[in-house]
């Protein structure tokens, strides 16, 4: 096998886009982005409904029984037939498998982004029913749509109504929990210009927004506070459900919301501390497009300074472990999925378990811990050996005789942007005395456990 052709700056930029917008690159995805180009790849990923999922959803439904149940079926199956916990298991596994195997990679990343943004831990039996329905019927269809629709969907989602207690908020005793978190975490941000009085008034606006069995939104006008309210400097005349709907529309279009969402998107995709100019441009795009998420996201990822930014994000545990499975091209099986799951238990990022309404942290200061890196080292050391039989990359590497050829092959899958000469030298030095049969897995472990694999 010949030396790989040197990677051009243009291709490096496109490969960084793959790392930013997927759960990790591999040989195939390097080919795809090389052939489509930077913007072509982005446009392709921004239209997930046009991407053939390769039968993934059918396959998931074939072994995760609750995935496609409607509310009444799920209620009956869970409560009456006493299959407690199945729906949580199915949603969790479907989420993890989609992240690794779905060709709609940017879509899955945005599902995770909004899942964090509107975080709901499944910490009760009711949420075991409400949250899977919300994920499928509310959140996923709105991922690339208008932010206002997502916010409205969330406000009327039984999962959110239940989690933040609005379902029990009445004229006689408004519950402030949803109103507070809606401003602080979903829209304006904590310094976005609202007051404690705004929270109290907003809680009154949402009185009567509640749940009807088995899992539907219902506005109970009898429980609504029909007094006049003042929120963010505007008087709200009594009008029932439209008070809350209009308020959500107003807040969704607020400049503070644009800045807050822009900052969070830039933080997720580019850097913990996004540059002010980047946030400004993305916030402007949010406002100009009426909160269109697809447009806003494309603006962010097309900015010249973003394209030029080198990997500054420490991968979170899901990103790290999923990238390993994708890089190795591991077939889905009990070993790989259990290994992935156990590493996320150890790393503290099982989906739908973050206990507070703010979602899993998105900054290196949280994830760069000794506990987290213990998980990373163990997973990197063990996974290639455990998945040798089901990893196409490792099978291909094992078929090669020469050390240099093996290194080049691993480079093409695990470091498509190119190995440094230091890394190449270390691989050669440490693998020289290993038996030929163990070299490929050992070198894969080292590349996957090393520092370059921690960043995206």
């Amino acid at each position: 096998m010949a030396e790989l052709a040197p990677v051009t700056e243009q291709l490096k930029e496109a490969l960084r886009l793959v790392e930013r917008t997927t759960y990790g690159g591999n040989r195939q995805w390097a080919d795809i982005v090389e052939s489509l180009g930077y913007e072509g790849f982005l446009d392709w990923q921004l239209q997930p409904q046009e991407i053939d999922d390769g039968g993934l959803e059918d396959l998931l439904a074939s072994f995760l029984p609750t995935l496609n149940m409607d509310a009444a079926e799920l209620y009956d199956y869970t409560i009456n037939q006493r299959n407690f916990g199945d729906s949580t298991r199915d949603l969790t596994l479907a989420t993890l498998i989609r992240q690794i195997y779905s060709p709609r990679q940017l879509f899955e990343r945005m599902v995770e982004f909004w899942t964090d943004h509107f975080n709901i831990p499944i910490n009760s039996g009711a949420l075991g029913i409400f949250k899977p329905l919300e994920d499928r019927d509310m959140l996923r269809p709105r991922v690339f749509g208008r932010f206002e629709d997502l916010l409205m969907g969330s406000a009327k989602s039984p999962a959110m109504l239940y989690y933040l207690d609005n379902f029990a908020s009445t004229a006689e005793g408004p519950n402030e929990n949803y109103a507070r978190e809606m401003f602080e975490l979903h829209t304006l941000g904590v310094d976005g210009g609202y007051t404690e009085e705004d929270i109290k008034e907003t809680a009154r606006v949402f009185t009567g927004w509640s749940i009807r069995e088995p899992a539907e939104f219902n506005f109970y006008w009898q429980l609504h506070d029909y007094g006049t309210k003042t929120v963010l400097g505007e008087t709200i005349q009594p009008a029932g459900i439209s008070e809350g709907e209009n308020l959500l529309r107003r807040v969704a279009a607020h400049e503070s919301t644009a800045r807050f969402i822009a900052t969070k998107l830039a933080r997720r995709f580019v850097a913990d501390l996004p540059e002010p100019a980047v946030v400004d441009a993305v916030a402007q795009s949010f406002l100009d497009s009426g909160g269109d998420i697809r447009t806003t996201l494309k603006t962010l990822l097309m900015l010249p300074e973003v394209r030029a930014t080198l990997p500054l994000k420490l991968k979170r545990p899901i990103e790290y472990s999923a990238a390993m499975l994708r890089g190795l091209e591991v077939d889905l099986n009990q070993t790989s999925l259990s290994g992935h799951y156990q590493s996320l238990v150890a790393g503290g990022q099982i989906p739908f378990t973050w206990p507070a309404p703010n979602g899993f942290p998105d900054q290196r200061s949280y994830w760069q811990s000794s506990n987290g890196f213990l998980m990373r080292f163990n997973q990197a050391a063990q996974l290639p050996g455990q998945t040798l039989e089901s990893s196409t990359l490792l099978q291909d590497a094992a078929a090669l005789g020469g050390l240099d050829d093996q290194i080049n092959l691993l480079e093409s899958g695990l470091r498509p942007q190119g190995l440094s000469s230091d890394e190449r030298g270390l691989l050669k030095r440490y693998s020289r005395r290993l038996p030929a049969s163990k070299r490929a897995t050992a070198m894969a472990s080292w590349l996957l456990g090393g520092p370059e694999a921690q960043w995206r």
């Binding site: 040989r27 392709w44 005793g173 503290g348 703010n358 213990l374 163990n378 196409t392 090393g450």
Partner: protein, 451 residues
């Protein structure tokens, strides 16, 4: 900005969160006047614990007016003195209180009202008030930096991550559960990783910390856990803290989080278990430690108390003043400290919440000064206005005679039918199908994927 620039910026701004490993080798407890034998367990009740239910002010008639359904009745409460009681589930806390090893500070918290969980927690963890004094690192981290713990396990979080209160101390470790902290690398892999991480200054300290911690934890892991703890994350964390102490690992401070206190709705469904679980874990920890309890202090805090008047969902919204507790052999326990502002409308913070009469930093300051011999407190607690000590702690060297206390009587575990997600049972879904097809084909993969 690229990573190199980021590192440069961090070095210039002093923002680097990494202390080199050699700091550990400098020897411990060398700052003047310090008390190297004392250890701190910092227990943070996340969510805003309701101090009015934990330690009800039975002598304040406004309490019963404001909490028509949620007030703890005088008949049910476990009396602490002529004015305050404990929630009926707090039998273990009562045992510690009666033994003089637990003190309560009522109406404590941040002087500036902050009713966002995340903002209030960040303020308390940074040891600041108001918020514009933000330091970005934590009060406990700053304190620990002054005493130079000297051993790999001197500052740990018994959690998946290091909390903000310990941030700024590069050597603080997140251990998760001690028995799970096991490094499974062969020598060759460990050596090459060490070389590779040597070229990434941002990650190198963490990689080295993993290697050092895994080695240092060996003796701790072979130390059998004590008995009598409730089966809970908090029970495991305190049991692990006891193993760190009893095995002589050199622990100076451990941070533990416990959640579930954000009781907006049907508060009575949950709060008894929360309070009982807290007390039982603390009492078990105390009994497990034996004589080591004499130089261990547990500081219990929460980001805020809850609204005085209950809401219509039989819960309570975010409030202001709350309750703090300290436990340990060096505590002047058996007393409720702080002055009680009262619950009459005119006395409330913003007309709705318990006022704060004891700045949370006042308790931390008294603890660090009296128990830990720390003299320079202003750098640790930014913006703190010193008041007279309340006498919550015994001076160093004056330790009580510890007598045997009954073990907590643990309530049987209630199975809700909904196991935690991390107990996911893979076998229930049977063998997984092959899924290689979902990967696009290597050659011309895009043509298969784009319609």
């Amino acid at each position: 900005m690229n990573r190199r620039e980021l590192m440069k910026w961090m070095a210039l701004s002093g923002a680097t969160a990494s202390a080199p490993g050699w700091v550990w080798a400098m020897g411990e407890g060398n700052s003047a006047g310090s008390n190297p034998g004392e250890r701190l367990i910092m227990l943070f009740l996340r969510g805003g614990a309701d101090g009015l239910t934990l330690v009800p002010p039975l002598g304040d008639s406004a309490y019963f007016d404001q909490r028509p359904t949620l007030a703890v009745s005088e008949a049910d409460a476990l009396p602490l003195d002529t004015y305050f009681g404990l929630h009926p589930s707090a039998g273990s806390l009562k045992t510690l209180f009666d033994a003089g090893e637990l003190a309560v500070i009522q109406a404590a918290g941040t002087t500036t009202a902050e009713r966002s969980h995340f903002e209030a927690q960040a303020i308390m963890e940074q040891g600041i008030d108001p918020q514009d004094l933000a330091t970005g690192d934590g009060w406990l981290g700053r304190y620990l930096a002054t005493i130079n713990g000297g051993r790999p396990l001197s500052a740990v979080a018994l959690d998946v991550a290091v909390p903000l209160s310990m941030a700024g101390l590069g050597s603080a470790l997140a251990l998760g559960e001690i028995d799970q902290f096991s490094l499974q690398l062969d020598t060759r892999t460990r050596l090459i990783l060490t070389e590779m991480y040597g070229k990434d200054p941002l990650l190198e300290p963490t990689a080295n910390a993993v290697f050092d911690a895994a080695q240092a934890l060996g003796p701790v892991q072979s130390f059998a856990p004590g008995s009598g703890y409730p089966t809970s994350e908090l029970g495991t964390a305190l049991s692990d803290a006891a193993r760190l102490i009893k095995s002589g690992s050199g622990l100076k401070a451990a941070a533990i989080n416990t959640g579930g206190w954000d009781t907006h709705e049907r508060q009575d469904d949950d709060i008894g278990n929360l309070i009982g679980g807290l007390g039982d874990a603390l009492l078990a920890f105390r009994n497990d430690l034996g004589s080591e309890w004499g130089n261990t202090t547990v500081l219990v805090k929460t980001e805020f108390g809850r609204r005085v008047y209950e809401n219509a969902s039989a819960g309570t919204d975010h409030g202001h003043g709350g309750v703090m507790m300290v436990a340990g052999g060096g505590v002047n326990g058996g007393q409720v400290y702080g002055s009680w502002p009262g619950l009459n409308a005119s006395a409330l913070s913003d007309g709705q919440d318990l006022a704060v009469t004891t700045d949370y930093r006042q308790v931390i300051a008294e603890m660090l000064s009296v128990r830990f011999g720390q003299t320079d407190l202003n750098d640790i607690l930014a913006g703190w206005q010193p008041q007279d000590w309340q006498g919550i702690f015994r001076p160093i060297g004056e330790s009580p005679v510890l007598s045997a206390l009954a073990a907590p009587s643990l309530a049987p575990q209630q199975g809700s039918g909904f196991g935690p997600a991390n107990a996911l049972d893979f076998s229930a879904i049977g063998p997984l199908p092959r899924l290689q097809s979902a990967f696009p084909n290597t050659t011309n993969g895009q043509q298969r994927l784009i319609r």
